[in-house]
Symmetry: C2
Subunit: 469 residues, 2 copies
């Protein structure tokens, strides 16, 4: 089935429009409606309970686990859930999972887009096979915790003939794994002009713009200044994503641009802007090594705070202008409007507050995993970092927990009150990695138990020559 | 260089918007400005001769062949041109060639998009290597035959930060290979709602819509009638493209939809609408066979004339409504607005009139090949069909002719007047092929010399079981 292998790539285009036409009620995952708008919508739909949907499960049906989102956390859970015990319904505006650590490599073609994405139907075949299991390409627009029900709206951006369609789903267990959204710190123009690097369509847009600019800069009469602007790739944010993307870009320039765009090869440049240290979570020696390697590859490192983003330049807080052709933004993530709209106790930083079993303690049968959830202060545990390895292991833990609960007869709504949930979730950090281009990568194992397995001299001060996948 | 293999796929997205924002001067390949607009624009740029560009070649430079278009004709010429004799400049809104006969197979994933596209820079490496050779992602907006010069405008659809840029190119030889455009016979709504099947982005749009509709039809509460509409694929035009696409679709339904979309597999249907006979250029027996096979595959054949296209249905001349979810239009091609705007004698059907050496006889050093050119009535030769095999062989012939002229010292503008052009172009039809799904194809060799090489019993009444590529 070759079509299936590419299915994901294609469907990524569903959400390609960066500014989908505003509709009321607005989709929550992708756009940013105000809380007031959301509440207004929610009370409107609460009054009108006639939307079609999936009714509460009956005695002869399997209990239903509804999963919001299709990222690391949601997909791991979907993969591991026992489909003999539960029917599974996934609601997400994206019908595939993205292998985010390799996304930067797709922007310049080191990897193909479809290599970093996997369709939900392949992660859990029961979704297309079982009569009670579904994937819905939709956003969740509200949760009625009391009645064990969510409201959804189909995602139809870019297809004019199809109107958004509202429906409801009753759940026995609800897992919120809807992720976070890119932070722009309210900087004017960032949402409008910068490209994030979180979805396949972002990578596609970066590649498209990069190649278009390479071609346009070759047109007769374009001034040297304009050529330099068109071919100036500016990356804001020196975390692993920003550094990896800068490294990939410099590889691309060294190898491919020199050969295929020889007319303009001397005009292309990569600049990485960071307010503090790059790779601040890594060990000092690794950071020094990364700076040396990136500089050697031709990446210009600029220490600065962006205060304004315009269509062809960014302005730093010291009023320096940096003209750009492609602007990539990668300064971390924060809570999404959907998470903000949920009326449940929050963890520090605004995430959905969870206990050590990843439950929302104030309501029944609802869990939050991945970047959207964080331990409540009452647990005395820190909010875990927004990393794939956290999300993935939470998904794995929760699938196992739900499977146990289901087998113990607690699968239905409100049926798990007296069931022992077993050991709480414990996170063990395995270490951090970041590629920096030129077949080199950093590996930081300080906080990891893996460290014991390596001798220091093998680590060569923490640096491996990583083979590109 | 894996990035390069995918370069084409990406860049196809440059022209993805079906209705690019109207600009003045309008791009001619993609949009449809009126002749008045064009002339007005042209006279405006003629007065203002300050646009930057490539000046006429000088004695120490190679003569310059400018090729408009990157289809079968243009790319074959670009491939075969002697880059030691000429510099080559290609101007096209598309940076790759599309292997059109296999485009239908990409809509359902039988083939990957990039498998049917080849970047210009790979067809002719001199374009990225030689200092005087270029590819410009642009539309030609006017030709000044007297001064051996064309006007161009960059293609920047979808990239807001880049303004269209005007430039001019002086040519020694000009080859117009800009192709034709899909015919809609002035039927209301066809351009707006139907998807053509001529470019990679068309195939991408079909695939996207098909998969989106498959997902949307699975949403709770969608009525049976709406499910049937969403999953009704209507193909207008029973030529080889329409038949091949219908066959591919029925394969997709039989194999992939049954397996991956089992919830909605009973709602999907393909209808092929044709005003006359399907595959009218093929032999009667082949046609009968095709009808039998398509019907067996579940394709509904409807004889009818479309009079109106609306967003969710087409209306036939007998007032029958046919609701659709995906509408594909393939009813042949006709002259583009650019060809219409050229003030040269035309061939029957409105194509650029050419002589037997593929020259435009009224002007110096200008040739037209492929679907945009046709023999003048004065040649007493019929206008050749708009087929890849015609275009490709015209490109091959003209490259050889130009190489000879160049070597004989006639490469410069106005330098070939006294040079013998040798044998005229003669077209020998090799036969026609069309796949009809289920690994079956038609091969019609009636008009071909190849027929002699096969015995009738081998042909099995003209039918081969074709292996899918």
């Amino acid at each position: 089935m070759p079509w299936l292998r590419n299915f994901v790539q294609l469907s990524a285009a569903f959400t390609k429009q960066r500014s989908p036409p505003t509709r009321k009620p607005a989709a929550i995952f992708g756009t940013r409606p105000s809380i007031a708008q959301l509440l207004q919508h929610y009370s409107a739909v609460a009054r009108n309970n006639k939307d079609p949907g999936l009714d509460p499960t009956k005695g002869d049906e399997k209990p239903r686990v509804v999963v919001l989102g299709s990222g690391w956390a949601g997909c791991r859970l979907i993969k591991d859930i026992d489909t003999k015990t539960y029917d599974i319904v996934c609601v997400s505006p994206r019908n595939h999972m993205v292998f985010t650590p390799l996304l930067a490599s797709t922007c310049v073609g080191t990897l193909e887009f479809r290599s970093v994405a996997e369709p939900i139907g392949r992660i859990q075949p029961a979704i297309s096979r079982e009569p009670g299991s579904y994937f819905f390409l939709a956003n969740c627009t509200g949760v009625d915790f009391q009645n064990h029900q969510i409201k959804c709206q189909t995602v139809t951006e870019g297809v004019d003939t199809i109107k958004p369609w509202n429906f409801k789903i009753a759940y026995d267990k609800l897992v919120i794994a809807s992720g976070a959204q890119a932070l722009t710190f309210g900087i004017k123009g960032a949402n409008e002009h910068a490209i994030f690097l979180r979805e396949v369509h972002h990578a596609q847009e970066i590649r498209r713009k990069l190649l278009l600019n390479l071609m346009l800069s070759d047109v007769p009469g374009v001034s040297d200044e304009e050529k330099r602007r068109l071919l100036h790739c500016v990356v804001v944010g020196g975390g692993p994503t920003g550094v990896e993307f800068s490294g990939e870009l410099s590889d691309f320039i060294k190898k491919d641009v020199s050969q295929r765009y020889s007319h303009v090869k001397d005009y292309i440049q990569v600049t990485l802007v960071e307010a503090n240290e790059i790779l601040s979570s890594f060990d000092d020696r690794l950071r020094t090594y990364a700076i040396k390697q990136l500089t050697k590859s031709g990446v210009r490192l600029v220490r600065g705070i962006v205060k304004d983003v315009q269509s062809e330049k960014i302005v730093l807080s010291d009023d320096t202008d940096i003209p750009y052709g492609v602007l990539v933004w990668s300064t971390g993530v924060g809570p999404s409007p959907f998470v903000n709209s949920l009326e449940v106790p929050k963890a520090p930083g605004g995430r959905i507050g969870i206990d050590e079993w990843l439950r929302i303690p104030s309501v029944q049968d609802v869990f939050a995993i991945g970047d959207c959830g964080g331990f409540l202060e009452s647990t005395n545990k820190p909010v875990l970092p927004a990393l794939a390895q956290v999300a993935e292991r939470q998904g794995k833990y929760l699938a196992k927990l739900l499977n146990q609960v289901g087998k113990a007869g607690g699968g239905r709504a409100d049926a798990a009150k007296d069931i022992d949930f077993g050991s709480p979730f414990v996170y063990n950090h395995l270490g951090s990695m970041a590629t920096i281009g030129r077949y080199k990568a950093l590996v930081d194992l300080r906080a990891s138990n893996m460290l014991k397995e390596y001798r220091w001299r093998d680590l060569r001060a923490g640096l491996f020559g990583a083979q590109r996948i």
